[in-house]
Symmetry: C2
Subunit: 371 residues, 2 copies
C-alpha cells in the first residue's frame, strides 16, 4: 500500500520548474470543464494562440500548445520536420541538447553534433566553420540550458543558419517568458517551450510555433509523419479555421490555465517581466556571494532564471535540499548528469522571480549552512 | 483579434467526453503545484497507481497515467510493443479502430484488419477463423467504440488471442470506470484509457497498463523504441522504485485531479458505479423512446455510457445540438465519419450518469423537437 500522501502546502518553487503560480491561474484551471468543440472553448483557444504569438515574438499562424509536457514539443518539432536520413547538426552543452540527439537518432536522421563543455556556451565561430564544411537540413540549439544555467547565442547562430538554408530549431523551454525571445527577428523556424517555467503555469503543455519555411517543409515531406498524436497536419485542423475537426480531446483545463498565465504576463508587459527577472537574478547572485557560494557559469553567459551554484566542499547537497523543503517549504534543484552532486540549480522563473523569494532562500541557506 | 471568450458556465456534459466533474476533482486540480520530485507528490503518484490498478482490475506493476490525452495512450502502447514489419490484426468497427490502423501503418507494421459494419460488434467467430489462418504478433480491439456506441466482446476475443500467443491490445478509453474492465481476468496485455470519460476527470492523461508478457516483449525488442516522449523504459524509471529518475516534468495538477477522480469512484465502489451507469442508460433509452427517438445499436450490444441515437428525418441535427448548448447548457455529441449527420451521441459517463441528467436532457429535447 502506498503511504497516505502528506498535505500539499504552498511551496516556494525555486527549482528548475515548476515555478510558483499566480492565483488567477489556479482559479482558471479549476473553471468548469466544457466540451473541446464548445464555441466558448474555441474562443479561449483562439485567444491563447494570439497571446502565445505575442510572448514568442512571431506572426506565425501555426502557434499552438501541444497536448503534452515541454519535451513533447521537442518531439513534435522533430517528427514533423526531420525525416529519416536527413542531416541535422545539434549544438550540445547540456542535458537538453543530448535529448535532441537521442530523439533525432531514434528518427533515423544522420546526426552530427558540436559539443561544448557543460557550463560554457555554444561558440558561433565553430558553428560557422561546421556550416561551411557541410550541408544540413536542420540545425538545433537550446536557448536556455536548464541543466547548466548557460544562455546560448541563439540570435547570432540564427544568422549563420539562415545563410546556410537549413531549418533553425530552438528549444526555449526555460527562456520563454523570462527573457527576450523574438522568433521572427531571430529567424527561428521551429520553436517549442514548456508551461511550468517562466510562463508560471502548471506543467502539461508545450507551446510551439512553426515559420512558413517550416510549414512548407512539413507539407512537402517525402515520407509520412511517423507519429499520429503529434502529427501537426492533423492537429492544425482542430486549432485553425472556421470549422474545427476533432483530432484528440484537448486538455481543456490546462488550456484555461495557460491562457490565464499568458494574460498575467502580458498585463505586466514583456519588457517589465524581463527586467524583473534580470534584476532578481542580480539580487540572488549578490545574496549567494555574501554566503560564499560561487556561480558555475561565467558572468556574461548566465541565465537570469536558472542559476547554477557550486556546492561548497564537504556539504551534503541532497541534505541541504531536503532541509530547505521540509523545514522552509522551499524547493531548489539538483545537478544533472556530470554536474550531479556538484551544483544546485536555483530557479527564478515567472511568478517566483521577486526579491522576497531571494530573501527567503538566502536566509534559509544561511541557517542551514551555519553562515 | 480573437473574440473575448464568453464566460464559462457549468454545463451538463452529455457528449462523448469530457463528462461532468465532481467538486472534489476541481478542488484537487487547483491544489498548489509542487515539484515533480517532491516526496509528497511521489506519494500521490504511488496512490494514483494503486487506484488505477483497482479500477483496471490488474496487479500489473506497470500501471501509470501517460502525460498526454487518451490517444497518447494508444500511441504509447504501439510504439513500445509493435516493431517495424511485425504483424498486427486490428478489429475495426468505428473511428478508433481506424485510428489504430493509421498509427500501426505509420510504425511500419504489417497491418491486417477485420472490419465490421459501424454500429455492429466484432464477431468472435471471424476472429477465430482469422487467427487460425495467420500468425500475428499483436491483436487489437476497442472495448467501447465511442463513435458508434457499440460494446465489443473483449473477454471472448481475449481467450482466442491468448491461445494464439499474440499480445492482446485493448482500447478502454470510454469503458473504463463505467462498466466492468478486468484486465488480468480477460488476459489483456496492453490497455489504455482516457481521463475525461467515465473517470470524470478533465482531459489530459492516458491511464495505461502492461502485463508481464507485454513488459517482456518491450524489454526484448530488436529495434529501438522510435519515440522518446513515450518510451516506457525511461518513463518507468520516474514512476517506479525508491530513487526516481527525471524523464519529463510530470503534469502535476492533472495527476492531483486523476488521483481524486479515482478516489471518488472507489469510494462509491466499482460495482455500484457500474450498476448506476447501466440503470441510467435504461432510463435514457426509455426517455428517448417516449420521444420517438430510436437507438442505432441493437439492444445486446449497446454501451451504457455512449448512446448513439438516430436523428429523425427532416431534423437539423446541428441546430438541435446548438440550441441544447445555448438555451439549456447541455452538450451532446455529433456523429463521426459515415455516421456524421445521422446520429447524436449522448454520453452518460461518470459523474454525468444519473437520472437528473436524463430528465434534464429529455425535457429539453421535448421542447426543441416540439414533441
Amino acid at each position: 500500500m502506498a503511504e497516505t500522501p502528506a498535505a500539499i502546502t504552498e511551496t516556494l518553487l525555486m527549482g528548475p520548474g515548476p515555478s510558483c503560480i499566480h492565483p488567477d491561474v489556479y482559479k482558471a484551471i479549476a473553471q468548469y470543464t466544457v466540451g473541446h468543440l464548445d464555441p466558448r472553448f474555441i474562443a479561449i483557444m483562439d485567444r491563447t494562440k494570439e497571446r502565445l504569438q505575442k510572448v514568442i515574438g512571431t506572426t506565425n499562424k501555426l502557434t499552438i500548445p501541444i497536448s503534452g509536457t515541454g519535451s513533447s514539443g521537442m518531439e513534435t518539432c522533430l517528427v514533423n520536420l526531420l525525416e529519416k536520413d536527413e542531416k541535422i547538426l545539434i549544438l550540445i552543452n547540456g542535458v537538453f541538447g543530448m535529448r535532441m540527439k537521442d530523439l533525432a537518432t531514434r528518427l533515423g536522421a544522420q546526426v552530427d553534433t558540436l559539443e561544448f563543455a557543460w557550463g560554457t556556451p555554444v561558440k558561433p565561430d565553430q558553428v560557422k566553420q561546421k556550416l561551411s564544411e557541410n550541408h544540413y537540413d536542420m540545425v538545433a540549439i537550446v536557448h536556455a540550458e536548464t541543466s547548466t544555467g548557460v544562455c546560448n547565442p541563439v540570435e547570432e547562430v540564427g544568422k549563420l543558419v539562415a545563410d546556410s538554408g537549413a531549418l533553425y530549431f530552438v528549444d526555449t523551454v526555460t527562456s520563454l517568458g523570462g527573457m527576450r525571445v523574438t522568433m521572427d527577428e531571430w529567424k527561428i523556424d521551429a520553436l517549442f517551450s514548456g508551461t511550468q517555467k517562466c510562463l508560471s503555469c502548471p506543467p502539461g503543455l508545450a507551446p510551439l510555433s512553426f515559420s512558413p519555411k517550416a510549414l512548407e517543409k512539413m507539407q512537402n515531406r517525402s515520407t509520412p509523419i511517423p507519429s499520429w498524436y503529434f502529427d501537426l497536419t492533423l492537429i492544425t485542423k482542430y486549432w485553425e479555421g472556421a470549422k474545427r475537426v476533432y483530432h484528440h480531446t484537448a486538455p481543456v483545463n490546462m488550456i484555461y490555465a495557460l491562457d490565464a498565465a499568458l494574460g498575467v504576463i502580458l498585463d505586466e508587459g514583456l519588457e517589465k517581466v524581463y527586467a524583473r527577472h534580470a534584476k532578481t537574478h542580480e539580487f540572488l547572485v549578490q545574496g549567494l556571494s555574501s554566503l560564499g557560494l560561487p556561480m558555475l557559469v561565467e558572468e556574461p553567459y548566465r541565465l537570469p532564471m536558472l542559476n547554477a551554484v557550486k556546492v561548497p566542499e564537504g556539504v551534503d547537497e541532497a541534505e541541504v535540499r531536503s532541509r530547505l523543503l521540509k523545514e522552509f517549504d522551499i524547493e531548489i534543484g539538483a545537478g544533472l548528469g556530470p554536474l550531479a552532486g556538484k551544483i544546485w540549480r536555483i530557479g527564478l522563473m515567472g511568478h517566483t522571480a521577486c526579491e522576497a523569494s531571494v530573501e527567503r532562500l538566502t536566509k534559509a541557506l544561511q541557517k542551514i549552512l551555519n553562515k
